[in-house]
């Protein structure tokens, strides 16, 4: 769960707990996310684009550049709502895209789709 806002992370985790068997690891920066990804396996990454040091896009690119992580499902969460950034982000390798504000049901549905219903470790 990658977002520099603790409130945001807590909200999303609160939503996704509805999916049984999930466990969560928090990262408050892109660098921390990259670090965590390199040290343990995950089934899904929920990633905010707007972060101070390393932005979400750079994280995404880095992730897609690694063999090990190429197929990691990544759900991008961002504040913009227009289609332009949606396409850009999907082109950069995101698996899914949600614009804030989104409802709890919306994010649960997206996450479910990406997790294929298995037991999950969410970054």
């Amino acid at each position: 769960m990658v977002d520099d806002s603790k409130v945001m992370r807590d909200m999303i985790v609160a939503c996704l707990r509805a999916i049984p068997g999930t466990s969560f690891v928090h990262a408050s920066s892109g660098l921390e996310a990259i670090e965590r990804l390199s040290l343990a396996p995950f089934d899904l990454m929920v990633l905010d684009l707007n972060m101070p040091d390393v932005g979400g896009v750079e994280v995404l690119e880095f992730v897609r550049g690694q063999d090990r992580l190429r197929s990691l499902p990544v759900l991008i969460v961002t504040t913009r709502g227009d289609d332009e950034s949606r396409e850009r982000v999907l082109a950069a390798g995101a698996t899914g895209f949600l614009a804030k504000p989104f409802t709890p049901d919306a994010i649960i549905a997206e996450a479910r789709a990406m997790l294929h219903g298995g037991a999950e470790s969410v970054a």
Binding site: D10, M11, A18, S28, S29, L31, S38, L49, V54, E58
Partner: protein
Amino acid sequence: MTAPPDLKDFLSSFLVEAEEHVALANEELLALESAQRKGEHHPRAIRSIFRSLHTLKGLSAMVGIEPIVSIAHRMETFLREFERSGAMVPLGATDTLLKGVQAIAQTIATLSRGEEPAAPPPELVRELDALDWGPGAQGRRAEASLELEPALREKLTDFELVQLAKGVAAGQRALLAEFFPSPEKSAQGLSINAVRERVAKVAEIVRVLPRSVPTSPEAPGGLSFALILLTSTNDALVAEAVGVGPDRLQKLHGELTHEDPTTEAALDTALPLDEEPEAQTMGLRRGIVRVDVNRLDEAMEGLSALIVTRFRLARSVAALAARGVNTRELSDVVADNARQLRDLRAAIVRVRMVPVADVLDRIPLLVRGLQRATNRRVRIELEGGGAELDKSVSERLFPVIVHLVRNAVDHAIESPDERNRRGKPEEGLLRITCGARSNTRLELTVSDDGRGIDRKAVARKAGRPVPEDDAGLLDLLCIPGLSTRDVATTTSGRGMGMEIVKRIVTDELGGELALRTEFGIGTTFTLRVPLTISIVDAFAFECAGQRFVVPVATVDEIIEVDGTQLVKVPAAEDGSVEVEVLLRRGSAIPLVKLARLFRMRAGTPAQKAIVVRRGGAPIAFAVDRMLGQQEVVIRPMNDALIRAPGVSGATDLGDGRPTLVLDLVALSTTFSLPARAQELRP
């Protein structure tokens, strides 16, 4: 499966984070403004403000606060253009942006009070929409030389290259340090966040770049972080912060021509740009957790409940012992538990400590507003935000400082013309310093180089003789209702605040207030306050016509005293006190008249009794009547002359006289009960 959460539940955490972003945005806007005045570029500030607004927009959208979304959206749209073009923000725009942030702050305040926020004022919306992003001048660039791998160089933004160049030109060293994360390092707490914090103390971090590297024992994750730094500290310290040997640091020298900004990789023109981390501005990254004071109070309450439970446990153990069970081990555990509870309490008290900087940081913005409103020019010097004090002291101090600052800018500091005539620099000086006076007291001064206080005018207004010294002058100033202005000014009203300042500093905080003023030269107010104050929830009661308080945490229960349930047990020859025994719920509780114990003349018969536990056994103190429950500040009474058993301090219930705070448990250990009372059963 559980139902999805209601995101409104996150409102209070949201407010806490939102406040932080507002504070940061204000700080950066002020920095931006000051750079603009010097004709300098400040892209880092623009970036930071943009990001804060962007985050605020997203968060408030999630929690459903439309007014903030609307303002933040307009501001971030405006700033995005400037980020993208690298142009300078026009001076007037900063003013509008500050108003926008102020509107957001007001919405947050409204929400904090539990009220519905109003829509943003239409004039503000128009002003934000009208922000013109005409091309500003490009900032000045400096030439310098840097040697960097092309792969890394590509990733650095133009601003960062300039930053490196400037740093080297100024004599700093540009270094590259590599950090390889690993599970062992993580386990030791050496994560990239920790490394960044440590390095930020000895160097300026320009950028941190993640790189894939072949997996190796040194890099088990196949990952390395390249930290690009500017520093004047020696290599050994920097290397230590990163956790590597000094030989592993790479120096960056050589020629570098920075590129034309328009050819910079346009990967994320529609998305926020990256920013180099700066540990000092973002409180969110300091490893600090913001905690609602209410939560701390809840923790304290929980702790008090634990303490009461401990008493019950001790009683049970005592009961077992009375039956002949060997309770040695159990008693040891209970004693350990008591000690741990005391430590926990101390820890929670420590958590309440906040840096004075939290209060001082809000001053520049306040002064900026005051300058505008009063047409004065004021320079601020703030010193010593490193001290820490109890959050409640800090909260009480803030309005005091605000008032003194307002007085200084509004009344004391003269207009630029007048200052010129007096041979003073046009800009008035307002200086706020803060330092720990001893390890229990904090000293804060607010001084100005304005016109000083006119004793004769004050004396005249007060209808009293001219005071001989500054202390006397201070007393006059603090007379309720005194004002040396006949007309309310726009910012400080009628100057009635000094009385409140005094009340807060001396009565509420138990501190001291002093004044030094020289006519025509300036004025200094000195506050000395304790770093921590002991605040507890207490029951107030009356006994023999005198008021007392007792901390709630020490009280087991409060019961009615009914004459018919009492059995008198006279004092025995062994010197025990006379008690009555209260029969209640199948057990006998010894009842001691507090008035008698204190040798006071009891007026009305006691109607209530406060029950505490002494070594697990209950003992009741009869008092006249209960007066309610409230939070009190306990002021210590340490002098030997007034050290008395059962008295743990004094407080002020609002009448200006000391009211004693009693420790009934301690009091109960100062006398013994007749053996008969202990044996008595219904």
